[in-house]
Point group: D2
Chain length 337, copies 4
């Protein structure tokens, strides 16, 4: 961390600052510029937030040099992490496709979709039981009944199931869920993250609507700091000024993530765009750009979907996409599933 | 709600769509344009999310005309709401200043700050006990001990206390807190909002970093739908491309909110800008633009603050600001507190 | 275009509004909802801007249904446009790679880079002669001397040349340039666009930093309305809150553009990310997502580049990328160049 | 400027970098951290863009410490600049209100509006002659005829006139215009800025839709570097994700600008919000926050305005606003005009 001091700082206040920093167990390196004095901090700076140093009145600005995340940092773990989701490995040469409806609706629906997507090559089944909806008056999901139906579909197809948690009191309800999803709106629900850090389940951590890559990795760090290293990241579009798509899919985040962390990353083109016609081209690009998988909404009757239907593929569209994806996974020298 | 159909929609599929809409208890008005058929929905459309209709393949686009919020809507409640915070009224001609440190640190600190800000004219005391920090390694607050210290400061000064809740299991801990704050990162933590809807406490609902005004009002609606109408809104800056300030304070949100809802709104210039030198000019502008109050960070030793010190005023700066604010409140024909 | 009226509009003011609209040669379709009257406009609404109708006091909101662009609209021209750049065809099954340095510096430099990128498979040469720099004190390009050097490099290699225009008085200077680039900062320099509409040269129109896809197509429409249909679009990243990359590359814009317009689109991953390590993964993804080409910065000595070196590939890196791109172009059943 | 080197940089490459920097006439200060070597540049760093240094492969990141603008920098000119607009002084204790229609339409219209706004207290007259419109099919202004009409209105009222330039060839046409406006879309039309740097006219430089405050000041620097120091800044809203207002007015930019530069700044609440009902509250807040003036759209018949009518006040609304503004200007110890 580099601290740039204001040009008129007194010697005694500089000494005070240095003493404070040393009291936190860090060493310093002072260099005198023409206009500004610059103090470099030496040691583990992850315990300090730059905004905390900003408070000191002689400080002009603070620049972090080392990343604030440790367990998620590729420097500490140069090889790719492989996350075990009920014996399916995510990361390192494997490509996963998680498919299924936005919401679990009925036993028939979820089992039919599960069988359809499995036949097409999906490697995991998704389905919402607890749904974060902007309106309190909109359908909120089937809750525990939804999880029960997902487990029926798992029994019928063998596909591991992925579903979203919204409440830290529900962790027991998710005991048989294979991969627990944290949604974009809860990416900085730190109490939920801490709780998930104490379980051993793999976690699918979606990027918040307006969160930077660094904040996202810090949220992963919250889970990992609690002892749970089984984190898979999911980019699902960020909020920008553009209105032609629901959000703007940040595919450039994939190579950035690959540089910064050893954790796997998958792409959700369905929520990112909100339009089914854009799902296939962006799903294909996700394979190319180096993602470790996809999360795609598939509904057996999109026009009847209880939520978010506009972005769902029907099973035929999904099957066509999967035939194409399979060729691309081979092209990238990866293996499906 | 207006549904614009694609230009080549078949008569039978249009009939199907109309039937579905009528099945939800709504009536329709069909008008045939040169290129597009347009269907207007008649009745209570708050149960429908536009994205759900988008799923139907003949639908080109959907435009909401009536607002999706009901209890928060000024149309349903033309007069300004007055929220009772332990016998202090927020709204309608009153102007409140909530002041105090980012974090509660020690009994001496919080009581000293409380006495200082009270002397200067603050009408409520703020202080963080549970702190949402981006890093798991940074100070997270004193937790229940912090609330205990706030209650000591309340006993010493009589000021109602305001502090942030991050966990729905903590509601009992907040039994003696006068105004419960929901932070920006939890604005769409719907399970927390629902839980707060079942208590009677006044809630200070901060706007999310990248949430629209409509989403913010829908989050207020979540609390109100549960039976708790005591919601005060707080604008605290939104995330934009600009880096000269931490966030961009959206003062234009105040007159927009005043048109759309009867709920009071206050401004937090400290978190919005992240720089103490910008707090005073924006605090003054907040009075002028029609806000019902301010939330300002004050620390008795900003340079020693455990978090977010850069944006804190010291008691002298706060006192100067308050002398100015008092004149402005009078100028606006309002009353402090 | 659909006009939603305020709920309390008087019959006479509605009649006035209808009369005004009819005076512009449009017909109307009035439908009476429960709360709102809705007026649909029938005819060519491209002459009306929604914000102009907003002015009328009984108007609640206005929604455009037909796109405001005509010549750029795919509805008017369902097949893909093929743009002829000095006998090289852009669009429809061809994939072009425009490569070269940010700035033209010396004859040796530009000829060496031109020969290098040609050998690797680039189909056009880029190089900046007039450079838009944020600082008046930074290097601004070699100007007409730069164009002369580009023409030398064209003579040496046969590659068509692409370079940016910043001033409508320079069109004559660009007489021998094969493809004239309009930079992001000039995307809404309407006087420049109008002037380019009167020449017959192909134009490479970059998307503005914070412009929507609709605004971008309207800028293409400016050029086309003047009589010049030879427009190629270039996505180069949009400005968002994220700071890990210089801009956020919006690859989802490619399938959106393919739906809305018949014009070709290419991708510039160099300016989008500002970091050379991210160029290759995003260039590959651009092929996959359906772009018609790439624009890539290549410098024979990136560390010595006079501008924007951080994002430049050296000739060896570019050659590696091109070998990979060639395989991908074949995979997509397209032809390079 | 501080250069942070990558952790594994060789001694010889560090020496090379230092030699390059010294060759540009700068001195360096090297400090060795635990992980990173840091090089501080000493001297006038305005000739270097950080992105140029990023190109060097041993460079991890570059941080500017001194601002890149010199003539616009308050450090070089601690007192407020006073800009003379045909004998009206802008800045330092004066508050100006520039009012008038979006577009000049007829002689009757512009003279009537000019007389109205003068009567209410406006100190300058605005009116668009050259209009930047997103659509080539929309009304583009009366051009030189519009300027002629503005000059008629000036003759009738004595009010200095303000109107927008879009084309560097038009400078002669603007010979009698008192204050030349550069619109948001041309803020980085550097050739136009350079040309305006060579005339002596005062320039009203609007902030670009998505430009940072630093970029805005660099555009002012372009004009000033050419020899024209008569620059007035105008904040008119920035583009964000929020859709309730056309743009988000960044009132926090006013105190930031006051810290960084000596140039005056005015606020345009009309374009920022796009809705007339929001103009008054934000205009009042602009006085409070420390702006040096306002630019407000007033039309004698907003419902008939040829452009942008939604945001225009009628003369009665403007008169009410001005009576209020006058009281506020006095409250701030300033003088109108």
């Amino acid at each position: 961390m580099v601290i740039v001091l204001k040009s008129n700082s007194s010697e005694s206040s500089i000494k005070d600052l240095i003493a404070k920093v040393k009291a936190k167990g860090l060493d310093v390196n002072v260099s005198q510029g023409s206009e500004h004095t610059i103090i470099g901090l030496i040691g583990d700076t992850s315990i300090i937030l730059p905004e905390d140093l900003q408070s000191i009145d002689i400080v002009d600005s603070v620049k972090r040099i080392s990343e604030p995340y440790k367990k998620a940092n590729r420097k500490m773990h140069p090889g790719d992490s492989m996350i075990d989701v009920s014996d399916r490995i995510v990361g390192e040469g494997r490509f996963h496709v998680i498919a299924g409806p936005c919401s679990v609706e009925t036993e028939e629906q979820i089992i039919e979709v599960a069988e359809d997507v499995k036949k097409s090559g999906a490697t995991m089944l998704r389905g919402g039981a607890f749904k974060p909806r902007t309106s309190p008056y909109a359908f909120q999901g089937l809750h525990d009944e939804g999880i029960k139906l997902l487990l029926e579909a798992k029994k019928a197809t063998g596909l591991p199931i992925v579903t979203e948690i919204m409440n830290l009191n529900h962790i027991d309800l998710f005991a048989d869920v294979d991969l627990i999803q944290v949604g974009a709106r809860n990416m900085q629900n730190f109490d939920l993250l801490k709780e998930l850090g104490h379980c051993k389940k793999p976690i699918l951590l979606k990027r918040g609507l307006a969160n930077t890559i660094e904040e996202w990795l810090m949220s992963a760090e919250y889970i990992m700091a609690g002892g749970n290293s089984n984190v898979i990241l999911c980019e699902r579009g960020i909020r920008t000024f553009e209105t032609a798509t629901r959000n703007t899919l940040d595919l450039g985040a994939v190579p950035v993530i690959k540089e910064k962390t050893h954790l796997p990353i998958i792409i959700d083109p369905s929520h990112a765009t909100g339009r089914s016609s854009l799902v296939a081209p962006l799903a294909k690009a996700a394979v190319t750009v180096g993602a470790d998988g996809l999360m795609v909404e598939v509904h057996n009757d999109p026009a009847k979907a209880l939520c978010d239907g506009a972005q769902s593929l029907d099973p035929t569209q999904f099957d066509e996409l999967m035939q194409d994806i399979k060729r691309r996974v081979i092209f990238e020298n990866k293996v499906l599933g």
